[in-house]
C-alpha cells in the first residue's frame, strides 16, 4: 500500500470539523478520484497527503513512512501535488526553468534533470512554449505548465486538484491520456474533481466524501448505484449512467464504450471511440 490513511480527523481554526474519521488505503498504480459537493472536505483531504494540512488526530502513511515528522519539502519526493490555481506557483522567467524548479530542489543530477524536464514538456505538449514567460500564457496552458512542473519531479504519487476546471477539450483529452499513462508506468494518481465523466473514463476507484466522512468507496463501475440512491443533487452522474437509468437498465454503465457494449452485446468487440469518451 503506497498510501494508508487511518481515522484522519481535521478541524479548521474556526472549529468546524472538515474531516471526520477518514480511513482508506491506496495501492501503487491505482487511479483514485475523490468526489463530493463543495465543502465536503475533498481538497482538505488531498492537502493532507502532501503535509500542507496536519491531522488533528489519526495517521497518514505514505510509502511506508508516517507523515507526522516529515516536512512538505520532504514529502515532495514521494507526492507531487498539482494545485488548482497554477498562478500560485509560476515564478520563473521561462517555462523550461519553471519545470526544472522541482527537479533542482530535489537535487537530481543535471543529466537526469534535463531528461525529466524534456519528457514532462513533451507529455504536456509544451515544447513549443519552452522559452516563453509562463505569465504570458493563457490559463489553460499555465495549468499545463504547473502539471509539467510536478511530473518532472518523478514522484511515485501524483495528486491533482480539480485538473479539468478551466481546461478546454484538447487539454482534457491530453490530461486523460496522461493519467492513463502514469498508471501504466505504475505511478499512483489521485484526483479531486467535479467532472464526473472525466472521473469514470480515467479512474479505477471513487471515494465519495460528504460532510467530512467517506460516504462511499469502491470501484468506479459500481459507484453510480450509490449516487442514484443518495440523490441529494450535489453530485451529477456521468452522462452515460443517466442515459442507462432512463432506458431502465438495472446495472449502471459509466462510459460510452460500456454503453455501446451493453446496447448490443453482438458479434465482435465494439469499436473504441476515437477520442477520450
Amino acid at each position: 500500500m503506497i498510501i494508508r490513511v487511518d481515522s484522519l480527523t481535521f478541524r479548521y481554526p474556526t472549529g468546524t470539523t472538515a474531516l471526520d474519521g477518514v480511513s482508506f488505503q491506496v495501492a501503487a498504480g491505482e487511479r483514485v478520484a475523490i468526489v463530493g459537493a463543495n465543502g465536503a472536505g475533498k481538497s482538505t483531504l488531498a492537502r493532507h497527503l502532501v503535509g500542507i494540512e496536519r491531522p488533528a488526530s489519526g495517521t497518514i502513511e505514505i510509502d511506508g513512512r508516517r507523515t507526522d515528522g516529515l516536512g512538505i519539502a520532504e514529502l515532495a519526493r514521494t507526492v507531487g501535488f498539482v494545485f488548482q490555481n497554477p498562478d500560485d506557483q509560476l515564478h520563473a522567467a521561462s517555462v523550461v526553468k519553471e519545470v526544472g524548479f522541482g527537479p533542482r530542489n530535489l537535487r537530481f543530477p543535471p543529466a537526469r534533470r534535463a531528461e525529466l524536464v524534456e519528457s514532462a514538456l513533451r507529455l504536456t505538449g509544451l515544447t513549443q512554449w519552452r522559452d516563453t514567460h509562463p505569465h504570458h500564457l493563457s490559463l489553460g496552458v499555465r495549468k499545463r505548465v504547473a502539471l509539467a512542473s510536478v511530473l518532472a519531479m518523478d514522484t511515485p504519487v501524483v495528486v491533482l486538484d480539480e485538473p479539468t476546471t478551466g481546461q478546454d477539450h484538447a487539454s482534457v483529452v491530453l490530461l486523460g491520456n496522461l493519467v492513463d499513462g502514469l498508471a501504466a508506468d505504475g505511478r499512483t494518481v489521485l484526483t479531486v474533481t467535479h467532472d464526473m465523466d472525466f472521473c469514470v473514463e480515467h479512474f479505477d476507484r471513487v471515494i465519495v466524501l460528504a460532510g467530512g466522512r467517506i460516504a462511499w468507496d469502491g470501484p468506479v463501475a459500481h459507484w453510480p448505484a450509490y449516487v442514484a440512491d443518495a440523490a441529494d443533487g450535489s453530485l451529477e452522474l456521468p452522462q452515460m449512467t443517466r442515459l442507462g437509468h432512463r432506458l431502465g437498465w438495472e446495472r449502471p454503465v459509466t462510459t460510452v464504450t460500456g454503453f455501446l457494449d451493453r446496447l448490443s452485446p453482438g458479434p465482435g468487440p465494439a469499436p473504441v471511440p476515437s477520442t477520450s469518451p
Binding site: D168, H169, S234, L243, L247, P273
Partner: protein, 289 residues
C-alpha cells in the same frame, strides 16, 4: 439585443487578430451560448459586447457592435452601466473590494447608479435569496469559498437588472447544486426579456438551456445554429469543443445501425433516451439489421 457585424479586433502588440470578421445577432429573450477551445477569443468577445474591449484594453477594432441599438464605438463605458452586465471568469476579480459585507458588495453597483437606499434593500434581498447567499449576507466577500464568490459575482450583476447580460464561464467552481441555481436564475432572466450571452465549457447544461450556439475557433465564427445542429456537428472536436457523450454514443451506434434512421444525433438526455429507447425496443423485438 446584440448586433455584431464584420467585427475584427487585435490586441496591442499582438501579431494576429483575436477576433476576425465576426458577425452574429442575439435577440431579446434569447440565450446565446459561445463555445470554443482555449485562445479562441471567447473572453475577448465577452469584453467586446460588454464594452470593456477595446475601451479599456486598447487595440485596434473594425466593424460594428450594437447593443440595444447603440453603437459601442461611440458609447463610453459609463453609458452602458446598468444596461449591460458582465460576469467574469474569475470571481475574485469581480469583487470590488470596496465593501466589507456580501450585502454591501451587491449594493455597490446600485450605489454608483444613485439608487435610493430603500429601493436598494428591496432589490438586494430577493437576489441573495435566489442564489442561496442569505446565510452569508454579513460575511466579508473575501471569506467566501470560490463557488460562493461566483454566486456573489452573478448576484451583484443581477441586482442591477441589466437588459443584456454577458457571462464568462460563470459556474466553473460550482458543484451540481450551485450550477442548478445559476441556470434557474438565467431561465428567469430570459422570461423577463433579457438578452443573454453565455460562455460555457459544460456542454450538457448549455445544450438544455441555449437557444443558439456560436462556435469560435481562432477568432472566427465557424458555426452557429441551434444546440442540436451545432453540438452534433462532426467537426466539433476539430474546433476544440468537447462533444457530448450522448452524441458520441449515438454516432458510433449509428455506424453500426443502432441509431434510428432520419433521427438527428442527440445533444440532450431526453433526445438520447428517445432514440436509444427506439433502438432497444427494436432490438427486443429481435429486429437486427
Amino acid at each position: 439585443m446584440i448586433e455584431v457585424k464584420g467585427f475584427s479586433f487585435t490586441y496591442p502588440t499582438a501579431s494576429r487578430p483575436a477576433l476576425a470578421d465576426v458577425a452574429f445577432e442575439v435577440a431579446p429573450r434569447e440565450l446565446c451560448a459561445v463555445v470554443g477551445g482555449g485562445g479562441a477569443g471567447k473572453s475577448t468577445l465577452a469584453g467586446v459586447v460588454s464594452g470593456t474591449v477595446p475601451h479599456l484594453t486598447g487595440g485596434t477594432a473594425h466593424g460594428v457592435v450594437r447593443v440595444n441599438g447603440r453603437d459601442l464605438a461611440e458609447t463610453p463605458l459609463s453609458g452602458l452601466v446598468g444596461e449591460v452586465g458582465l460576469v467574469m471568469q474569475n470571481p475574485f476579480n469581480q469583487i470590488s473590494g470596496a465593501r466589507f459585507s456580501v450585502r454591501e458588495e451587491i449594493a455597490f453597483g446600485l450605489e454608483n447608479l444613485g439608487v435610493p437606499r430603500e429601493e436598494m434593500a428591496a432589490r438586494i434581498d430577493p437576489v441573495l435569496d435566489d442564489l442561496g447567499l442569505t446565510g452569508v449576507r454579513d460575511r466579508s466577500p473575501y471569506e467566501l469559498s470560490g463557488g460562493q464568490q461566483q454566486l456573489l459575482a452573478i448576484g451583484s450583476i443581477l441586482v442591477m437588472r441589466p437588459t443584456v447580460m454577458v457571462l464568462d464561464e460563470p459556474t466553473s467552481q460550482l458543484d451540481a447544486a450551485g450550477n442548478a441555481l445559476v441556470f434557474e436564475a438565467l431561465g428567469t432572466l430570459r422570461e423577463q426579456g433579457v438578452t443573454v450571452l453565455l460562455i460555457e465549457h459544460r456542454m450538457e447544461r448549455l445544450a438544455g438551456a441555449a437557444d443558439r450556439v456560436l462556435v469560435l475557433d481562432r477568432g472566427t465564427i465557424v458555426a452557429q445554429g441551434t444546440p442540436g445542429e451545432v453540438l452534433a456537428d462532426e467537426r466539433l472536436e476539430e474546433w476544440g469543443v468537447a462533444p457530448l457523450r450522448y452524441t458520441v454514443a449515438a454516432r458510433h451506434a449509428a455506424a453500426r445501425g443502432l441509431w434510428p434512421d432520419r433521427q438527428p444525433l442527440p445533444v440532450t438526455l431526453d433526445a438520447a433516451a428517445e432514440g436509444f429507447g427506439e433502438t432497444t425496443d427494436r432490438l427486443a423485438r429481435g429486429d437486427r439489421r
